[in-house]
Amino acid sequence: MTGPTTDDPQPPDRRRSLLVAGAIGVGLMAAVDEIVFHQILAWHHFYDRSTPEVAVLSDGLLHSVELVLLVAGFFGFADLRRRGALHRSAGWAGLLLGAGAFQLGDGVVDHKVLRVHQVRYDVDLLPYDVAWIGAGVLLLAAGAVVGARAARPERARRR
């Protein structure tokens, strides 16, 4: 412990816990997408040759933001732990919301709007898109439920 330690720990920082865990959620989901679907299953590639040029740049920007978010999220998390300011349920809510937001954004923006790549090729896409986007919606809903409970004052006191 090298950080500044005070005798009375700060009250849990709900908002920062939510933000920091949200950043980790986005980064983790992106990592799952890349490792599981791009590399292990190889359903879709990091690039497919029918992609329009603007999408390549915007996808690149999105990807590099994800990586920075993941690293920044873990540093922010470590900082919250060091200060004793981590609010657990707000953190879980943030993680679920971040993961859901990425999944939904990837499914709608990357796959459907920008058409960077599709979930899988040479198959009927509909069930895959429904599962992809549905997973995002479910994660967001779970995050919203946990977040609503975290917002209640009696939960806040118990952390």
Partner: protein
């Protein structure tokens, strides 16, 4: 069709392989670091060993002198970082590259990644400038410090300039005939490698240089430039993948080799981005700061 219009790859015209083969044969000894047979000759390792000895020896001797003079030993962490960087640098110009890369295109990419991204991080974190300044006599140190504070140095070492030199240099290398010219002419090849190394060090220094921590643009700028530069690097890699073997223009490599090399470039860029972000945020974390650009919660 725009220069980067992402059309399906053009099939090699009949006889294209012969032309490529002929070009490779003509390269001969001019492309030692790209050749796959270079590791047979042990003298090929001499320049790399000499480079490593000079870099690490010079650094260690200076560190010892500074330690004796100031009465405080020079940081072992910094020394280890610099030594690791120097080792990577030396390996990248040794025949060892041909041992890890299955073909000439990937051999080049290994050099690009090691010289431009991996080695600079170690070298910069080793704080060789701080060490050199500490070793100078007071009067000359003042001159050197004044030189470092000039507007020219400030402009060149701004993250935006450094990123433009770094990624822009790569774009110039891969999108123009420069790459094939460099394969044919040894001096140009060396100039390219030096540029990649220097621009990589400048970029890393502008972001995480210990001498720059208190000066230059703030963390927001640095993270922003890192994100944009990484995106540009990744997009360039995808472009090379999509347009192989038409890019780099006139290269002797096959489309398959070039696509594999482009993938190495893409994934190595990710690793480099994460490593630079960690180095950048570690400084912030160590200072015990309470917020990363989130002023809304700073008061809590």
């Amino acid at each position: 069709m725009r220069w980067w219009a992402l059309a399906p790859p053009v099939r090699n015209a009949p006889g294209a392989d012969d032309v490529a083969g002929e070009r490779t044969a003509r390269l001969g000894p001019a492309s030692v670091s790209h050749g796959s047979t270079a590791h047979v000759d042990p003298t090929g390792w001499l320049p790399a060993v000499a480079l490593l000895t000079v870099l690490v020896g010079g650094y260690a001797a200076t560190a010892v002198r500074v330690g004796v003079r100031t009465g405080r030993p020079w940081s072992a962490h910094r020394g280890a970082a610099f030594a690791a960087g120097a080792l990577v640098l030396a390996f990248a110009v040794s025949p060892g590259v041909a041992l890890v890369a299955p073909d000439a295109a990937r051999a080049h990419m290994v050099q690009h990644v090691l010289l431009g991204m991996v080695a600079p991080l170690g070298v910069v974190l080793g704080a060789p400038l701080t060490l050199a300044l500490a070793a100078l006599p007071v009067r000359r140190r003042r001159t050197a410090t004044a030189l470092l504070r000039t507007r020219a140095v400030h402009v060149v070492s701004h993250p935006v300039t450094a990123a433009a030199l770094h990624v822009g240099g790569l774009a110039a290398l891969y999108l123009t005939p420069l790459y094939s010219r460099a394969l044919a002419e040894r001096w140009l090849h060396d100039v390219v490698l030096v540029h990649v190394t220097v621009a990589g060090c400048l970029f890393a220094w502008s972001l995480v240089g210990p001498e720059r921590a208190a000066r230059g643009p703030g963390p927001g700028w640095r993270v922003g430039v890192l994100v944009v530069a990484s995106a540009a690097h990744g997009s360039l890699a995808k472009l090379l993948y999509a347009r192989a073997p038409a890019l780099p223009p006139g290269s002797p490599h096959s489309g398959e080799e070039l696509r594999a090399a482009a993938q190495w470039m893409y994934y190595a860029g990710d690793v480099a981005e994460v490593a630079l972000t960690v180095a950048l945020l570690a400084t912030w974390y160590r200072r015990g700061a309470r917020h990363i650009g989130a002023p809304a919660v700073a008061g809590r």
